[in-house]
Amino acid sequence: MTVTAAAAAQTCRTIPNRVRERAERTPDRICMRQKRFGIWQGITWREYWEQAGLVAHGLAALGIGAGDRVAIHSENRPEWLYTDVGAVAIRAISVGLYATNPPAEVAHLLRDSGARVLVAEDQEQVDKALAVLEQCPDLERIVYLEPRGVREYGHPALMPFSELLDRGREHARSHPSLLDEAAAGATADDVVTLIYTSGTTGPPKGAMLTARNVDFATQVLALGPGLYDPPPDESDVTLSYLPLCHVVERAATIWVNAGAGTTVHFAESIDTVVSNLHEVQPTLFFGVPRIWEKIHAAIHSRMGGASPGKRLAFRASMALARRIGDELVRHDGTHTARSRALYALGYPLLFRALRDRIGLRKVRAAGSGAAPVAPEVLRFFFGIGVVIREAYGMTENSAVATGNRRGRVKLGTVGEPHDGTELRLAPETGEILTRHPGNFAGYWNRPDKTAEVLEPDGWLHTGDVGEWVDGSHVRIVDRIKDVIITAGGKNVAPSEIENALKASAFIKEAVVIGDRRRYLTALIGIELDSVGDWAQRRRIPYTTYRDLTEKTEVLTLVQGVIKEVNTGFARVENVRKFRMLPKELDHDDGELTATQKVRREQLQDRFGELIEDMYNDTTKFAGGDLTGVHS
């Protein structure tokens, strides 16, 4: 067959290539399931490739060719994959947009990428695109997936997904060899996707990943032990819930699925992840710290409301879990006879049921990445038998850098460099540099920015300060830009302190401040669910989020957490004062990035008054110091 021959001639295999091969080898196997009308509807490899092929032809019918950009603005669903794979199959470039992106960012991303076709999920996303259509001269077509509410718009640029498929069918009849030709013409240096950085500083930049980058990442993450150890195989089940436009989820869903043949399940929405997890019981689970923290907080908060007998069982099991967790940490994440015995004791009592309830009963490998996670949270999950292995990577190196291996887990580190990855620390700054075939081709239309991070000899500046632990593992200190230098000249990594604070079930956001100041302070945002629950149990009446944060009891609660965290740090790293954020941080308000990372500059601007309140020794806003609180 021409395709296979062409594929063999190539040095690397594209994702469409892999999907096609699976469709030929195991056509009737379920490759993904989507919950619709209350039922998990299966989609086979044959259907996957068929649909992706139709999208490819449909895009070609719209005039999309090699190097053109196709944007996708949708939550995770099969059509996302069809569009991504279909676009790459005709050598076009896919661009993912976060479903939460507000119109202004949508405009920036569409304009910057020069996307000609946008696949928008529903009325909400179509409205955003239509609002900014004038600002995006390249955008010709908006294909919508959910016709509800959009059907009657009658805008000339709009087209339903079914029509795209119909056109694809027609096009396929007249150009049956299109995909074969495109596959034969594809090179390893083809840009296959633009992944926009979250943009904690400045507007998002589009990182160009080539076919070679993706292939290398697939080799390491899907076929090797990069993401999950032992590597995934066809019997594995995953849940897709993080945004697919983020490199981690792209790897965990599309690349791992096509590479290893796992079965992907799409969560109905981000709000139903908890119940979907319970239903799907994945065998592989990759979470960002926020997810782990949330599960951790939810367990404790729900146990707080449980009946006395259950609380007793929980306390007893947690005593076991602590011992198991410590034992696992001491032995690099491997079970010892002692930890196994303790686990066997707690399993029928609580661990089995608890893991089942949170949907992690069948998890055989779990990972955490994208941001640092507090060691206490990891220790908790270790204790209940879910060994989470932290990994490290970024968009610019296709999420390939380091990972903790099975049996060589070191808590607080991001593990060892993957096979085929060169990693070193810059001598003067301690910045982590990586070099491997996964390093990106550069920022889209931003050669100046590319030159800042990519050296001519192939080394990538990650912008993270790291250090070696025991000569083998890497510990991330912080982002270079975020490191605080106090007025006394001490270097402090705020993320460590912030994570320790966020490990508390009551604290959702913590922003440590103190650059060129005499001492450290923090802005604190509470976790509404657990603090609300806590207040209700203590019969503290409250109305709004803001009202709750200003209660003296809540302030004292936060103060307690801060004092406790302070004991784990050196004196200069102690948080002396805090103020409460009067609102929940939000992507729409520009305080968070699409990946829920805090935009520090924005925050310091917006809540400058709170910060000055702390350093001017006034008490205009709710908060406190280590000796007292005031509302």
Partner: protein, 405 residues
């Protein structure tokens, strides 16, 4: 895709526009009709979602329970075997009453009448004829269904009356049925044998096999009681599953809608007349079958046995067991039938309870009646969902473990 000639249905349109095929059943190598192995909540078809035994645990426990019930007669004495058989029969009657009262919300005190009707229909079709009474001596394969069909037809005739009234009036109306029935049974001597005399029940000959003979099974000699036990159990299982299926199907949902608010139900397009009629008819069928089986097991009865107290016994079955649950009806039947026996066994141990009707501080029969009344009151006040409700509480406690909700 072919060109649509007509207006596409909602589903077709959804499929066309989303490009996604909607289907009821998952496909592929690892998918079974029930769902995905090892993941009981990952429903890939509506059939799996709606299954009665939707989890492996439920399947396992049900099989274990059925197995236990099947070996039970080999360990029980003959009178206890008979007693458990009565449990099955009361469970059939209870399920019938639960369909009309629990599910469809139509209070019926007339169940005793339908049971009696079933018993006499069976006797006429299956009993031996004589100078005094009519009897055609047909096979059980005929008289047992007829024992259900004839009361069902009478139920069908009575239903239009019942449809017009509700609540207390319906209770009184069905109460009237019992009194009319008792009178008719007393007077129709050629059918019932008359008051104080009664007649022999139908001949238990099933497909030519006389159930009264002794049968050998795996080297055991099966007593007549054990044979009755197995036959009644089989009939009970079939009828219970049929009822369960009825309640989770369209008519069953209509029953619940009518019970919860008949006006709202009729506004939603549910025909009150048809729903209530169906409930009465099916319920009467169950009552008839249980009446016929009851006389088969306990033997000759006089017309006065089909009185209000029997109706109240059946109400107790569903009140104590659990309104609007099939499993509850079974639990309730077991409780109502076995409780008097347990009390009388206790009487030998507890000193101040005498076993004779007149002597002592408290006789067994007084105690039984008092306990019965007290339990109904207690259940109504403390756990209106009955024994089944208690079970649900226990189950939910462990199901939610380690959380509380």
């Amino acid at each position: 895709m072919t060109v649509d000639t007509g207006v596409p249905s909602g589903r077709e349109r959804a499929e066309r526009e989303t490009g996604l095929r909607v289907r009821g059943r998952g496909r592929g190598l690892r998918v079974r009709g029930r769902g995905v192995r090892g993941r009981p909540l990952l429903y890939t078809s509506y059939a799996a979602d709606q299954a009665i035994w939707n989890t492996p645990a439920k399947r396992g426990w049900t099989l274990a329970l059925v197995g236990a019930v099947l070996v039970l007669p080999f360990f029980l004495s003959r009178d206890l075997t008979s007693l458990v058989t009565t449990v099955f029969i009361f469970a059939i009657g209870g399920i019938g009453l639960n369909l009309v009262t629990g599910y469809a919300g139509q209070v019926s005190l007339g169940h005793a009448f339908f049971m009696g009707l079933g018993a006499y229909t069976a006797a006429v079709f299956g009993g031996a004829g004589s100078d005094q009474v009519i009897g055609w001596g047909l096979d059980m394969a005929i008289w047992l269904p007829m024992a259900g069909v004839v009361p069902a037809l009478v139920g069908l005739v009575v239903a239009p009356l019942a449809v017009r009234v509700r609540g207390l009036y319906l209770a009184v109306l069905t109460l009237g049925l019992v009194f009319i029935g008792e009178h008719v049974f007393k007077e129709a001597r050629s059918i019932t044998g008359g008051a104080g005399v009664g007649r022999a029940p139908a001949e238990p000959v099933l497909f030519g096999m006389d159930l009264r003979e002794r049968y050998h099974l795996f080297g055991y000699i099966l007593s007549r009681e054990a044979v009755y036990y197995f036959v009644c159990f089989a009939i009970f299982v079939v009828l219970a599953i049929a009822a369960r299926n009825l309640t989770r199907s369209k008519p069953g949902r209509a029953f619940a809608a009518v019970r919860d608010r008949d006006v709202a139900a009729s506004m939603m397009g549910i025909s009150l007349r048809r729903t209530k009629t169906l409930a009465f008819t099916v319920s009467s069928f169950y009552a008839g079958v249980s009446g016929a089986l009851l006389v088969m097991v306990i033997g000759r009865v006089t017309p006065t046995n089909w009185n209000l107290f029997l109706s109240i016994d059946l109400l107790a079955v569903i009140l104590i067991g659990g309104i609007a649950t099939i499993s509850g009806s079974i639990l309730g039947a077991a409780f109502v039938v076995l409780m008097p026996r347990i009390v009388s066994e206790l009487a030998d141990v507890v000193p101040f309870i005498s076993t004779s009707p007149s002597g002592g501080f408290l006789s067994v029969f007084q105690l039984q009646t008092m306990l019965f009344g007290a339990l109904i009151v207690l259940f109504l006040v403390l756990e209106p969902r009955g024994l089944y409700g208690l079970w649900v509480r226990v189950r939910n406690y462990w199901k939610a473990w380690p959380f509380s909700y």
